[in-house]
Amino acid sequence: MDISSIFDISAAGMNLERQRLEVSALNLANANTTHGANGQPFTPLQVVVRSGLTPFDAVLNAVNGGAGLAGSGPIGEVQTADVPNRQVYEPGHPDADTNGFVSYPGVNPVSEMVHLIAVTRAYEANVRVFNAGRSMAMKALEIGSGR
């Protein structure tokens, strides 16, 4: 495994965490959006993460002696979360339905905040891995010096 693939894996991880942060920020910002472009309340989003390693990649790794791990970082897809809308009784609201209920997006601020904490920690962990990889590379450059 060469030195740049180690950095690419951590970079992919950081990318993913940033994506999750963006989605969380979007959800929180739109927590009270009752009326979107299509007339419907905002649909909360989520990031579904899958590993970049397919079973074929695992076989290729075994053949190449672990040289093909560069594409194995996580890949995140943004999808809509299947969460029911909150119904709030506000008869005077312009978006109220016939019974006076307004549909707000089913965004749970508490769980989004907890999610933010987890994302931050994961991002920090990726940065630490990156820095550790860089320190190791710099140490490898010192082999044979100090003669």
Partner: protein
């Protein structure tokens, strides 16, 4: 002793020199991207060199192709002088953490090349000084 010649400044030195130029070009691109991180409608740049150098891979281990490799490397160095930076097709906007990651990667590559070339040259120095340095 027919293969001691490479350490006296042949294909390897040329390749390392080209790779160092490429690292500098990449650094310039990253510096521009970071400086313009908040500029609206700014398109991130990358070093054009990276597309050219992939052509060299796989040919450097065969010493019989050294002449062709040296010519291509010299051409690349000239090409780098004229238009080193182009727009990055894979990045529609500047992402600071990716730029920082690329910066660290590039710095390690630059220092690794310098150290390796220095050690290769010290082999020649050892032979020339007859071990009395």
């Amino acid at each position: 002793m027919s293969q001691i010649n490479p350490i006296l400044g042949g294909t390897t030195s040329q390749l390392v020199s080209v790779a160092l130029d490429a690292a500098l070009a990449r650094h310039a691109a990253i510096a521009a991207n970071i400086a313009n991180a908040d500029t609206p409608n700014y398109r991130p740049l990358m070093a054009r060199f990276d597309q050219l150098v992939a052509d060299l891979q796989g040919r450097v281990t065969d010493r019989t192709q050294d002449g062709a490799v040296m010519r291509d490397a010299a051409l690349m160095q000239d090409a780098l002088q004229s238009e080193p930076l182009i727009a990055d097709p894979s990045a529609p906007q500047v992402e600071l953490d990716m730029q920082m990651a690329n910066l660290a990667k590039n710095t390690v590559q630059y220092q690794a090349l310098l150290t390796a070339q220095g050690k290769l040259a010290s082999l020649t120095e050892l032979a020339l000084s007859e071990g009395k340095m």
